[in-house]
């Protein structure tokens, strides 16, 4: 999801899906609908206009879920720091699981970040399966956000 990025990271995400890097060999697939997705990749420094959209899309992804911040912008707001049109960085609004720094990051770093997020997601799914009370709660559960805050992890490409 683009939260006001310059499109550089988005192009690198597309490159990660291309035959040269082939994210599908790990079983990763690009899903258009947030309802079908497990891992939300966010690019851009989060502009004021984009905050609501970012939160809506995050809520539309159903738990268990993970968030990957692609590039330096969502991590630190990068060169746009102190801009009055920004409301970033991303972790002010969403629990970010994996940061993939770079301006833009290389496609293999993006794939590594998504793979790391998939590991976190698998742990979270197992925790959830072990705890019967969470299975009964559907949709937009707060416990996912709490779990995500605890399980934050970084990836250095």
């Amino acid at each position: 999801m683009n939260s006001g990025s310059c499109n550089g990271c988005d192009i690198e995400i597309v490159a990660a899906l291309s035959p040269r890097y082939d994210a599908e060999q790990l079983g990763v697939r690009l899903e258009g609908s947030p309802r079908h997705a497990d891992i939300l990749c966010v690019t851009g420094p989060v502009t004021q206009k984009a905050v609501r959209a970012v939160k809506t899309v995050y809520d539309q992804v159903l738990g268990p879920k993970a968030v990957v911040a692609i590039g330096s912008c969502p991590a630190t707001t990068n060169v746009f720091i102190d801009s009055r049109t920004l409301d970033g960085p991303l972790d002010r609004h969403l629990p970010v699981d994996v940061f993939v720094p770079g301006c833009p990051p290389r496609p293999d770093a993006i794939i590594q970040g998504v793979a790391k997020a998939a590991e976190i997601l698998a742990e979270r799914g197992l925790e959830r399966a072990a705890d019967p009370s969470t299975r009964l709660r559907s949709g937009l559960a707060q416990d996912d956000r709490d779990a995500a805050n605890e399980a934050s992890a970084g990836v250095q490409p």
């Binding site: 035959p19 599908e24 060999q25 079983g27 899903e31 309802r35 079908h36 159903l62 268990p64």
Partner: protein
């Protein structure tokens, strides 16, 4: 057909016990072969199974009212219809059947597509509605050819019994009919060049945009079962005159699987080699180009019947 053989066919072979793993295998085979043709590595062997288990463990969005109830019901109806269609296929020689089971098979094959159209409209998502409208337009187009092809094969034999059709000797009419069915399969299975209804990156996932978790898992499963049923239909039409010569059930089963895999590979090559057509081109393709084949097939079938 006794109750026992009917249950065995529905639950064991070629029904659920065979069809569900086969559905995952065919979904993997399609993704893998497309990936190989694009010089990629492609997904791991167990990926469709992992995806299914993962989706079962996810939560579903809260739904309320009659619309919500319908949205939960559509994928279940689609799965049961597709599983029933697979169970009806006359794979094993002398496995039973009844007069008119061809009509039931055609109805069951059509039901998942009707469910998808209804699901898109009941989700009330704009992408779902566009996808459903496209699916409806496409379904009206390819079904004419699909039904005419099958009816022409049936009319030449004066029967609607699947077993009789499966035992047909090879003839130009049969091959013409099989060709017409093959032309319809990409549209029926939503793969390129007729992947309009679920055109990813264009209208997200079309009718299934609002589905998630276990409901989406059921849609995936029904899609896989449709693969098994559609390729299996072609396999049973072209297989038996080889199989019956030796006669054993095991061999008939093996030939069925091999032919189904061959049809899957053929469709994957087509999917990898083509780009998505716009809706007007797709509809025009079926109404202008392939309808001639179907009309030719049915007229020759009627001609053969009057002559005999």
């Amino acid at each position: 057909m006794t109750l026992l053989t009917a249950l065995a066919r529905l639950l064991i072979f070629p029904g659920l016990l065979f069809a569900v793993p086969a559905a995952w295998f065919f979904l993997w085979l399609e993704r893998k072969s497309v990936a190989l043709m694009q010089e990629r590595v492609g997904p791991p062997f167990m990926q469709p199974f992992y995806d299914f288990v993962k989706l079962l463990g996810k939560s579903t969005p809260p739904r309320s009212g009659v619309g919500g109830l319908l949205m939960r019901a559509w994928p279940l109806i689609a799965v049961s219809a597709a599983a029933g269609a697979v169970g009806l296929l006359p794979v094993l020689p002398s496995s039973g059947g009844f007069e008119g089971d061809l009509i039931l098979l055609l109805a069951l094959l059509e039901l998942p597509s009707v469910c998808i159209i209804a699901a898109g409209f009941s989700s009330r998502s704009i992408f779902g509605e566009i996808g459903s409208a496209r699916e409806a337009a496409l379904s009206v187009s390819y079904n004419i050819v699909f039904l005419l092809a099958i009816v022409s094969i049936a009319a030449s034999q004066h029967t609607f019994r699947l077993e009789a059709l499966a035992a047909l000797p090879s003839s130009p009419l049969l091959w013409l009919g099989v060709l017409a069915i093959l032309v319809c399969l990409p549209a029926k299975l939503h793969i390129n060049p007729f992947s309009l209804p679920n055109a990813e990156q264009e209208i997200y996932s079309g009718p299934l945009t609002e589905y998630a978790g276990p409901e989406l898992a059921m849609w995936e499963l029904s899609h896989g079962l449709e693969w098994v049923a559609c390729t299996g239909l072609v396999a049973t039409l072209i297989a038996p005159h080889i199989a019956l010569a030796w006669g054993t059930s095991l061999l008939a089963g093996c030939i069925f699987v091999v032919l189904s895999v061959a049809v899957v590979l053929l469709l994957s090559v087509l999917a990898a080699a083509t780009a998505r057509l716009a809706i007007d081109s797709s509809v025009r393709f079926y109404w202008q180009c392939t309808l001639i084949f179907a009309v030719l097939a049915i007229s020759s079938a009627l001609f053969m019947r009057f002559r005999s």
